[in-house]
């Protein structure tokens, strides 16, 4: 077969054109790359802590809506206080019930009280008189069982019919549908001995204990030891918590859920952010290579680039989550191994390609940590290798606050931490708030979950925080992979656990809330703190008006067998039955609801 000249020319031109087009996109990407610059650092911070509604603005001795009883350092009271800030409730803390009773506000609708402040008939009488006045009471923990025996009025108040056992070993618990986000959940690994009460009619149980051999013991579901229930007394609801949920932030979402149960519907602001944080990844050094080589036949650097990175990217792209990496230049600062420029460039470019974000980690793997050295070393290295990149996110990890506080608050512009705007704290570090301002400028976000594990307690914690804030930050600590400590730290196992967590346990919340990186979450948290809101309902229309509105705001609407039909001034997403996320894009939002008897 003979090819004509004109056909030859056409084919050649076409092939060249294709070659040019393909190469052009690649070349242009290289030239247009901004990987070595942090786009988040270019915008100024518009919402600082003094523009937001913090405790000082909500603390109101005369017009409080919520009264907190307990000491300043009482952990349960602190959680309640934190919750008041998140829900923008005017509150006031009293050291004792008597103090409250002497200074009761006309606006007071809710009393959050813990077991430690109830120890006399007078206290119980005050609670009873408040209940009769229509003040709902939340007992974040129950008084000692002997107090119940001594004061029958307390039993009446809390809806306890009989004390079946002072201490009863429970095997776990069941959180019933509609209380916390995520639907019904049964936990079989939360074994604990709790007082066993049988409840009166007119009570509603939200969490009940699970016990072993329930059928053989001939105990009906309704007769199982109650963990969290509600009683109606006088003119108010009394919520009782027969568990230590308020020893950490697990109780936070429960407060929200309890308030939702007192009204026909509840509308409250949320952060609406889901973050995946890869702690100590990317890793830029080549330490612990001998151990890694034994296990994976790669050097640490090669393992990270050729195994971890592709796996992480494929898992995140499958789940749709955004990558937020906390760079660990080195994990052993006594080691002479230097940071690899190739690695740094590789990760910066790759991160840009997947629209990820990079911050800096504060972790070290040595028994004696060289925190000052680390900050100085990192400052120096990044000045050399990535002089244009300003880090805005810092995850201190195991670095003590005292070590980095100076750099964040007082140090000049020379440090790698000079431009930090977001501090990512480990889960429940020193009872710190989930969201708070570290200083006027820096927003502190706490991790809520470990992405490599998902125990029952962690699941309950996650659900609770999601219910309260629509927020979760999953931390994946890759120092475990680079410094494995047994079979459990093998990447094969951990990658499976990570995929399982992201794709299974987290899935429901992903549907409801937005997947963002840390900087986006930071922005959302600032807007969340800034806004103030009011709402009311007329027939099937809920009107929401927002002050200090900054472009967008998210709310969670908790309905009772109703559904959102339409939203004007915003959009909505159904999180689950009766629970809707409202995305406001104007100051006034009108939400139309209608009855919904569907199952899901």
């Amino acid at each position: 077969m003979k090819i004509s000249k004109s056909a030859f020319v056409t084919m050649s031109v076409t092939m060249i054109a294709i070659l040019v087009l393909f190469q052009f996109s690649n070349i242009s990407a290289i030239y247009a790359s901004q990987a070595m610059k942090n786009a988040n650092a270019e915008q100024d911070i518009t919402i600082t802590s003094n523009k937001t509604i913090q405790a000082s603005k909500l603390h109101s001795p005369s017009t409080y809506e919520t009264a907190l009883i307990g000491g300043k350092n009482n952990w349960e009271t602190m959680i309640a206080e934190e919750w008041c800030i998140y829900t923008k409730q005017r509150y006031y803390r009293f050291p004792s019930l008597r103090d409250l009773y002497e200074n009761i506000s006309q606006n007071c609708k809710l009393l959050i009280v813990n077991a430690y402040v109830i120890d006399s008939t007078e206290d119980i009488n005050i609670l009873i008189s408040l209940a009769k006045r229509g003040v709902s009471i939340i007992l974040t923990s129950l008084p000692d069982i002997s107090l119940f025996r001594s004061y029958p009025k307390l039993m009446e108040l809390t809806g306890v019919r009989k004390i079946e056992a002072d201490s009863y070993y429970t095997n776990g618990m069941t959180v019933f549908e509609g209380f916390l986000l995520g639907g019904k959940a049964t936990y079989n690994d939360m074994k604990k001995s709790i007082p066993y009460f049988s409840l009166e009619s007119g009570t509603k149980t939200y969490i009940s204990a699970a016990i072993k051999n329930q059928e053989q013991k001939n105990i009906k579901n309704e007769e199982l030891p109650p963990i969290l229930w509600r009683n109606y007394y006088g003119n108010a609801f009394i919520f009782c918590v027969n568990y230590d949920f308020f020893q950490d932030h697990t109780g936070l979402g429960m407060l929200t859920a309890m308030i939702s149960e007192t009204t026909g519907y509840n509308l409250y602001p949320i952060v609406d952010s889901q973050i995946v944080i890869c702690q100590n990844f990317p890793y830029l050094s080549n330490e612990n290579s001998s151990r890694i080589s034994r296990q994976y036949f790669y050097t640490s650097k090669a393992f990270c680039e050729n195994v971890l990175w592709p796996d992480i990217v494929s898992i995140l792209s499958a789940t749709g989550d955004k990558f937020s990496g906390m760079i660990a230049p080195k994990l052993e600062y006594s080691d002479s191994e230097d940071v690899s420029l190739d690695s740094l460039k590789f990760y910066f470019k790759q991160t840009e390609r997947i629209s990820g974000e990079l911050g800096i980690s504060g972790d070290q793997m040595e028994s004696i940590s060289f925190h000052d050295e680390k900050i100085l070393y990192d400052t120096e290295k990044f000045k050399q290798l990535a002089p244009d990149y300003d880090f805005t996110v810092f995850s201190p990890g195991n670095m003590p606050e005292s070590e980095y506080d100076y750099y964040l608050n007082y140090f000049g512009n020379e440090s790698v931490l000079s431009n930090i705007r977001t501090l990512v704290l480990p889960k429940e570090q020193e009872h710190k708030a989930i969201l708070s301002f570290y200083n006027t400028k820096i927003m502190s976000l706490a991790c809520t979950n470990n992405g490599f594990s998902h125990a029952d307690k962690e699941d309950l914690y996650l659900r609770s925080i999601e219910t309260a804030l629509g927020y979760s930050a999953v931390s994946l600590d890759f120092s475990r992979v680079i410094y494995p400590n047994g079979k459990a730290d093998d990447w094969t196992t951990l990658s499976r656990d990570m995929a399982r967590f992201l794709d299974t346990y987290w899935k429901n919340f992903r549907k409801a809330f937005k997947q963002v990186n840390i900087s986006e979450a930071d922005q959302r948290a600032r807007k969340f703190f800034a806004l103030y809101y009011n709402y009311y309902r007329r027939n099937d229309t809920i009107s929401l008006s927002i002050t200090n509105f900054e472009d967008e705001a998210s709310f969670l609407l908790d309905l009772a067998d109703e559904k959102v039909v339409s939203v004007s001034g915003g959009t909505f997403t159904k999180a689950e039955k009766d629970k809707y996320v409202i995305h406001a894009d104007s100051k006034t939002v009108l939400i139309e609801v209608a009855e919904d008897l569907s199952e899901n």
Binding site: R161, F176, E200, S201, N221, Y232, A560
Partner: protein
């Protein structure tokens, strides 16, 4: 969708489905057999075939123990298709060969798909067009008849549909039982409470399963559907016996528009009841029996004539089955359908047939007639009794009401009527008892027609007759010789004798009409209708002597049928055996009255217009009569007022039933209510009685536990508890008869929590009051969860959604726990 609109849609659905099943499909299947017959005969025949087929198909699948939708479709469609092919012999091969050519062309690429469609649908479209043309041409030719008939039908739809459209409820307590039996058929059980004529139930179950309609929906509206057919039967039957084309409409008019009858005579037509369903087949019995006599006579005459001419076999050849035999077959079918629907209809059908037999005396005893009729009777009885007999042989016992019905027909010596009525609690027939005590005649005189008084009357009458007889005997001996003189003097005495006879007759009629009090709205009407019956009977007897015409025999049959029903109505007062209780005999008497009046009018019309040979012009007389009566009825506001409804259920309750069944997942909800909605709710969910619920809370302690194990729980509360159980009723336009608003004083009273009268007026008032205050107290404890689902002035429904894994304890101290 509002309940009013829903009811109208359901009515249209039920009417369409039933009409298609009993009119359209039988007509299509038996097209070759029916197409040459007149429209009324087509109509009546199709209805008989359709109902007979449906009822027996259901019996067959149940007795073969294969109930279900698939078997219903198979057993319905397959025999119908086979019958259609056998009867109409359609050219199916020809159809396929016709189709073959365009199909081949399509595959060869020579034709479009449209060609195939043309080939497929050209014939059906043509048939459809022709049918439409015929229908319109028929309507055009009979525009006046159709206008009048449709007008009357429209009024009846309004009149009988008003209650179900505005109050949505059943209205009759019996319906709950029938609904229960039909629901049990869904579970594969026929004759749930024993053997009973299940024709009505079979039809409802058929419509429910074949068309997927809800039993509740059909039962609510089917009363109106069947009533339309009942009314049409008056027209069709009168068309058969009347000479005038328009006087049959007079019959329908009299039963429709003017306020002639006692409200109890027509109230049952509002509701879907087996007896009323069976009434559809009452007049077809007479229709086909009369047709049999006519055809047989024609056949005998033709046979004799053609036998003489030696052309008999040529004539016989055209008939596979002789027309008279077909008439008799349809008579047998209609008679068996009366038995399949309700025993009382069969009793009336027997009366009707006997009166026709009397009218056709002595022809009826001619062997050519008599044995055919006897055979038809035996076959019809066998057809109707066979399913019941098979079920009986399969071990099913007789249903209680059959024993009751038999006890009414054959009362025991020691049994008094009051006890008989008590044996049928829960039905509204007891209402009639009030009419036994005292009623007034047209002149305002109080007439006691209780048993004792009745016997008093009969005794005095008897003694009068006896004394008269004694005197007559003496006179006959003494005056034997002067008989001739008397006869000679007779012509001179005739006017005075006639006057005396007339006076006697009037007195007798006045006395006799007193026994009919309560049958019609005005007692004077009883007198006139009795007189009309006598006049018609005497006139027909005379005419039967003068003219050997079956026409007069038919009219005579109607007159004595009316007389029989009058006697049956007053049987108790007359001291005769009571075959049927007063309430029901009143219904049949009322249903016969339009026949009687229309026949009398037709007799007058025939007598007057005889010289004019019944030309179209002569029809001006009946048309004028109808228009005149219509105008008079309208001008004098003599229109039948809307009927009554029993205080059985509140409209809100039915509204909630529909809403819950439509929206809640099946079998995951419970309704706590009285027993009124029990059968309705059982279709899709669960039911708990108020007395059970509250009874568990009596003597409340903090250990009392009441749980209901479904996700959704509804509580129906009557804010104005109904005056239930003593046949309290009110006009459909008024509020339901009730005991007033629930009250704390009532709630504080001790209630009964069991027994047959637990929901009767007083106890119902206490229970509903208790439930109301329980709901208020419970709502305080669960304001978010325990919500008002529906509320109107007299009814409230609460709903609570439970956590199925941790149920609510509904037992609370609500202050009236007893």
């Amino acid at each position: 969708m509002s309940m009013e609109v829903r009811t109208i849609i359901e009515f249209i659905q039920a009417l369409t489905a039933y009409t298609v099943c009993v009119c359209l499909v039988p007509y299509i299947v038996f097209h070759d057999f029916l197409h040459e017959k007149c429209l009324s005969e087509k109509f009546i025949t199709a209805i008989l075939i359709g109902n007979f087929y449906i009822i027996n198909v259901v019996f067959v699948i149940f007795l073969l123990k294969i109930p279900g939708r698939i078997s219903l479709y198979v057993f319905t469609i397959v025999p119908a298709v086979i019958a259609w092919i056998r009867i109409n012999r359609p050219d199916i091969g020809g159809f396929f060969s016709l189709l073959h050519n365009p199909l081949s062309r399509l595959f060869l690429g020579e034709a479009h798909f449209r060609t195939i469609l043309d080939a497929l649908f050209s014939r059906p479209i043509e048939i459809f067009r022709n049918s439409l043309r015929n229908v319109f041409s028929h309507i055009r030719k009979h525009i006046f008849e159709w206008t009048l008939l449709l007008g009357l039908i429209a009024f009846n739809i309004y009149y009988y549909g008003y209650q179900t459209t505005t109050s949505y409820i059943f209205g009759a307590s019996d319906l709950t039982v029938h609904q229960f039996w039909i629901n049990e058929m869904d579970n594969g059980i026929i004759f749930q409470n024993g053997i009973y004529p299940f024709g009505f139930h079979n039809v409802i179950w058929f419509l429910h399963n074949f068309f997927g309609m809800r039993t509740l929906s059909i039962l609510r509206v089917f009363g109106v559907v069947e009533t339309l057919f009942i009314y049409m039967m008056i027209y069709v039957f009168l068309r058969k016996i009347c000479r005038s084309r328009y006087l049959p409409i007079l019959g329908v008019f009299l039963f429709t528009l003017p306020d002639l009858f006692d409200f109890q005579a027509t109230m049952r037509y509002q509701w879907s009841l087996p007896q009323e369903f069976g009434m559809i087949f009452l007049y077809p019995c007479a229709y086909y029996l009369i047709q049999f006599f006519e055809r047989k006579k024609d056949e005998i005459q033709t046979r004799q004539k053609l036998a003489q001419e030696n052309r008999l076999y040529a004539w016989l050849f055209q008939y596979h089955i002789m027309p008279s035999t077909k008439s008799l077959a349809f008579f047998a079918i209609s008679f068996s359908l009366t038995l399949a629907a309700h025993f009382y209809i069969t009793i009336i059908a027997v009366v009707l047939c006997v009166t026709i037999a009397i009218a056709y005396f002595p022809i009826v005893f001619h062997p050519k007639y008599f044995w055919s009729i006897v055979l038809a009777g035996i076959i019809s009885l066998s057809c109707a009794v066979a399913p019941l007999g098979i079920a009986y042989m399969q071990g099913t016992r007789l249903e209680g009401s059959l024993k009751w019905a038999l006890s009414v027909i054959f009362p025991k010596e020691e049994q008094d009527p009051a006890n008989t009525i008590e044996e049928n609690p829960g039905t509204f027939d007891n209402l009639e008892n009030s009419n036994y005590t005292e009623e007034t005649d047209g002149e305002g005189n109080s007439i006691n027609i209780e048993d004792e008084n009745t016997s008093g009357i009969s005794n005095s009458k008897g003694s009068t007759v006896d004394s008269q007889n004694n005197v007559t005997k003496k006179d006959s001996v003494e005056n034997k010789t002067s008989m001739l003189d008397t006869l000679k003097a007779l012509p001179a005495k005739i006017p005075s004798l006639a006057k005396r006879a007339k006076e006697k007759l009037i007195i007798f009629n006045r006395l006799a009409s007193a026994y009919l009090n309560g049958a019609y709205n005005y007692n004077i009407l009883c007198f006139y209708i009795l007189g009309a019956t006598e006049i018609l009977a005497v006139f027909c007897l005379l005419m039967m002597v003068i003219r050997r015409n079956f026409y007069y025999r038919n009219l005579f049959a109607i007159s004595i049928y009316s007389m029989f029903l009058m006697i049956m109505y007053s049987a108790q007062a007359l001291g005769l055996p009571v075959i049927m209780d007063l309430a029901r005999s009143r219904i049949f008497l009322a249903y016969a009255t339009p026949l009687l009046i229309a026949c009398l009018a037709d007799a007058v019309y025939v007598f007057l217009c005889w010289p004019f040979k019944y030309h179209k012009i002569t029809e001006i007389v009946p048309i004028g009569l109808i228009l005149l009566l219509t105008c008079l009825t309208l001008i004098n506001d003599f229109i039948k007022p809307l009927n009554i409804v029993y205080s059985l259920q509140l409209p809100g309750e039915m509204k909630c039933n529909y809403e819950i069944m439509d929206t809640c997942p099946e079998k995951r909800w419970t309704v706590v209510t009285t027993t009124n909605s029990m059968q309705t709710l059982r279709e899709k969910g669960w039911h708990m009685e108020v007395c059970t619920f509250l009874g568990k809370m009596e003597n409340y302690t903090k250990y009392t536990n009441v749980t209901i194990p479904t996700k959704y729980v509804f509580f129906y509360i009557e804010k104005t508890p109904l005056d239930f159980g003593y046949d309290a009723y009110n006009l459909v336009t008024e509020e339901m008869a009730n005991s007033g608003l629930v009250s704390e004083s009532a709630a504080a009273q001790q209630a009964e929590f069991g027994g047959s009268s637990v929901y009767y007026t007083e106890n119902r008032y206490i229970l509903e009051s208790k439930l109301y205050y329980w709901a208020k107290a419970f709502q305080e404890k669960f304001p978010k969860e325990f919500q008002v689902y529906y509320e109107d002035e007299s009814f409230i429904c609460y709903r609570i959604i439970q956590n199925e894994y941790n149920l609510y304890n509904f037992a609370i101290d609500y202050g009236f726990n007893g």
